[in-house]
């Protein structure tokens, strides 16, 4: 049994209490809504993409602490980055959360995002951490809604491209 304390680390608790980039952009170039029907987590994500660069990003919504902290840290991680780098992080984060990427191994770009590695031992909470990334992936690919269910469900099937 995993120790939940390993997941609820101070950095996650801090992002939950004081989420970064919280709100909505006024004139976003990209947007998407994420929904996890299992627990009712809802996220609204807005982005300002200029050329290949994510100039601005914001999120709002109702969710658990893991989801909110993940969204907050995601926005901090991808703001100012190239789209391709954000997509790389999406794939790496997803692989880490589902136990297919060892956060201790070299060669990934997750940095502080490895604090979420603990969710891989809490299968019911994996979706909470991944939802913001699915939503980002959907927004960047001009899909307006993302869900953690069905074929996108990390507990049942490998996640395909949205």
């Amino acid at each position: 049994m995993a120790d939940a304390k390993a997941l609820y680390q101070e950095v996650i608790l801090d992002h939950n209490r004081k989420p970064r980039n919280y709100g909505a952009l006024e004139r976003p170039s990209h947007r998407a809504d994420g929904y996890n029907p299992l627990c009712g987590d809802r996220l609204h994500l807005t982005l300002q993409v200029n050329g290949d660069n994510i100039d601005a990003i914001a999120f709002e919504g109702e969710s658990c602490a893991i989801c909110k902290a993940s969204a907050s840290m995601m926005t901090a991680a991808v703001k100012g980055k190239a789209r391709a780098d954000a997509e790389t992080l999406f794939h790496e984060f997803r692989d880490m959360a589902t136990g297919r990427l060892d956060p201790a191994a070299a060669g990934h770009h997750l940095g502080r995002l490895t604090v979420f590695a603990g969710v891989r031992d809490l299968p019911t909470r994996v979706k909470c951490a991944i939802l913001p990334w699915h939503t980002l992936h959907a927004a960047l690919n001009s899909v307006t809604t993302a869900t953690t269910e069905a074929e996108a469900d990390p507990m049942h099937a490998p996640i395909g491209n949205a």
């Binding site: 609820y8 627990c39 009712g40 019911t124």
Partner: protein, 419 residues
């Protein structure tokens, strides 16, 4: 024998000896995450006492064969034990006849059986089915599927802010097109005990039969089918100290006899030829294929175990647990109990300001406390109370006052971590 040791006489009653009862449940001795298990997810599934486990082992080791078939000794023994379990359950719910107890795979199966046989036969275009806001999805979806197929209409009894059905509104929902009422005896999400005897009487005055979802009542209340006068009553074994995969549908003989079979196969026929098949009588008509024999026998043992303690004694102790836990949790700052009906089983659904139920569930689990979080397969209730989800602590007779204390302390710890 442990059952008798745990048994209580009602008058001059000594205090409920919960520690002696707990000794019958091996799983309650577990430690999780370094803490003693505090199991408060009984509305989802209850734990199994040693006498039921022993009964399953004895069946598997010395009595197993297929039933109603061969003439050899084991088959006769298995058949006898299976039918004996039916008899025990018929007595437990005070059915008029043993054959009114149909073995199913669970409550969901029982409700679907009624919807697909009685329902398909007697509900047509423009007819109406009355449900309530408190229903579990398993007492909503089978009726929606039927209504869609037939062009029938679903009408819903509303609730008040305490989570109680509005009986005046219930009465007003009846029209000449009302063909069926389907109502839960006890709400799984809130614990509300519905006045089903009154509701059944109200429906019968209009000649409307009533299907009761008893999944959350059978483990906690003394059941009397004849007194309730309900037409159908479905419940599950695994919520009342029995195995999973077994359940019961009670139905009145006259109704069951008129209904077509649900599933076709072996054991539900008298004779088969390619020209004509003659169905078996009750209860076999509704038990196609090899049933969960061990499950039925295990449920029989569970009913023996519960009867040994006494459903009145169980109800009284669980009520004490509910009052104690309600008093503790209602005075925690920032905690709101959802579902405050005057008559409840020992279910506490609550929300904590600023904390999502899934975080509550994970953090309580870390303290060894098992609760359910989410919408409890009752999304209309969540919608009614404008919450996406709740945390639900559901008690059984083997829970202690100290475990209620642990829950309250656990909630304070969650608030300390997250707020």
């Amino acid at each position: 024998m442990k059952v008798q040791r745990a048994a209580l006489k009602t008058d001059s009653a000594p205090a409920f000896d919960v520690e002696r009862i707990r000794a019958d449940f091996p799983i309650l001795g577990l430690r999780l995450n370094g803490k003693p298990l505090v199991y408060l997810d009984n509305a989802a599934s209850s734990q199994m006492p040693q006498p039921v486990i022993d009964r399953l082992v004895r069946y598997r080791s010395t009595q197993h064969a297929n039933i109603h078939r061969a003439v050899h000794t084991l088959s006769e023994t298995a058949t006898h034990e299976y039918e004996e379990a039916r008899r025990k359950i018929a007595r437990f719910i005070n059915a008029r006849a043993d054959h009114e107890v149909i073995f199913t795979s669970g409550t969901t199966d029982g409700i679907n059986l009624v919807a697909q046989t009685y329902g398909r036969q007697s509900i047509g275009k423009g007819d109406e089915i009355v449900l309530t806001t408190l229903e579990h999805h398993s007492n909503i979806v089978p009726w929606q599927m039927l209504a869609e197929e037939k062009g029938a209409r679903i009408r819903v009894v509303p609730i008040n802010d305490a989570g109680e059905l509005l009986l005046d509104e219930y009465e007003k929902l009846f029209t000449p097109r009302t063909r069926l009422v389907a109502v839960g005896h006890v709400s799984n999400a809130l614990g509300t005990i519905n006045p089903i005897k009154l509701m059944i009487a109200g429906a019968h005055v209009r000649g409307v039969p009533v299907v009761v979802d008893g999944a959350q009542a059978a483990p906690h209340l003394k059941l009397d089918m004849q007194d309730l006068d309900c037409d159908f009553y479905a419940f599950s074994g695994h919520k009342m100290c029995g195995p999973t995969g077994i359940g019961v549908l009670y139905g009145k003989t006259a109704l069951l006899e008129k209904m077509p079979p649900f599933k076709g196969g072996g054991d539900m026929i008298l004779s088969v030829s390619f020209e004509k098949t003659i169905y078996a009588g009750l209860p076999n008509k509704f038990e196609a294929g090899t049933p969960p024999i061990a499950g039925a026998i295990g449920l029989g043992a569970a009913v023996d175990y519960l009867s040994g303690i006494g459903m009145e004694a169980i109800g009284a102790w669980e009520h004490e647990l509910l009052e104690h836990a309600t008093a503790l949790i209602s005075q925690l700052p920032g905690v709101r109990i959802i579902g405050t009906a005057a008559r409840k089983t020992a279910v506490l659904s609550f929300v904590i300001d600023g904390v999502h139920p899934h975080d509550v569930g994970t953090l309580l689990n870390q303290q060894g406390i098992a609760v359910r979080t989410g919408h409890h397969c009752a999304q209309p209730i969540m919608e009614r109370f404008k919450v996406p989800a709740t945390t639900r602590a559901s008690f059984a007779f083997y829970n202690t006052l100290a475990e209620a204390d642990a829950l309250a302390a656990g909630i304070r710890e969650v608030q300390k971590v997250l707020l």
